[in-house]
Amino acid sequence: AQSVTQLDSQVPVFEEAPVELRCNYSSSVSVYLFWYVQYPNQGLQLLLKYLSGSTLVKGINGFEAEFNKSQTSFHLRKPSVHISDTAEYFCAVTPFYNTDKLIFGTGTRLQVFP
């Protein structure tokens, strides 16, 4: 079975500062990895995904993530955040052989202060 751990439930940061949201997963097989963002009172929007290939994945809104197989991590980064990045961020994983079940972490609330 697969599981996802988002180590920080909340991350406060000042505007224009860099940020890293951490995600670790557990799986005995290869996985596909995703980051989703949820703005207040909205649905989930895909930020980026790793299926194969380059381990550094670039997404929308200036976010990027790096897949590290040896550390089973997929941390999300942005070099300079904006107030508008305030949202909840979810990491998710699915095994490559059974993509019917996307498993989510518990989420990290990013709060950007002016």
Partner: protein, 113 residues
């Protein structure tokens, strides 16, 4: 939202009453999913469907049933609503191949009083 419509968007219902949430898609996707979102739990899979009349249970299926009589509609029914089913419910579709990924609807906020 890739042609995914959830209805209703908000609902308040009483304990013990049946409730049906609807998910409608316009792009003929084979796979559809129902998730619930609760603080501290992220999103958890309730049921999913891999075709008309083909459904299976997810992680938190107790107290829920689903039906898919047409490709475009996936219904989630709470047989007898309980306060523990107060949640935000999201429908999703998945796309296979090089563009593999999930797309979510806008959600239904259900309150059971």
């Amino acid at each position: 939202d890739a042609g995914i419509t959830q209805s209703p968007r908000h609902k308040v219902t009483e304990t013990g009453t049946p409730v049906t949430l609807r998910c409608h898609q316009t792009e003929n996707h084979r796979y559809m999913y129902w998730y619930r979102q609760d603080p501290g739990h992220g999103l958890r899979l309730i049921h999913y469907s891999y075709g008309v009349k083909d459904t299976d249970k997810g992680e938190v299926s107790d107290g829920y049933s689903v039906s898919r009589s047409k490709t475009e509609d996936f219904l989630l029914t709470l047989e007898s609503a309980t306060s523990s089913q107060t949640s935000v419910y999201f429908c999703a579709i998945s796309v296979s191949g090089d563009n593999y990924g999930y797309t979510f609807g806008s959600g239904t906020r259900l309150t059971v009083v």
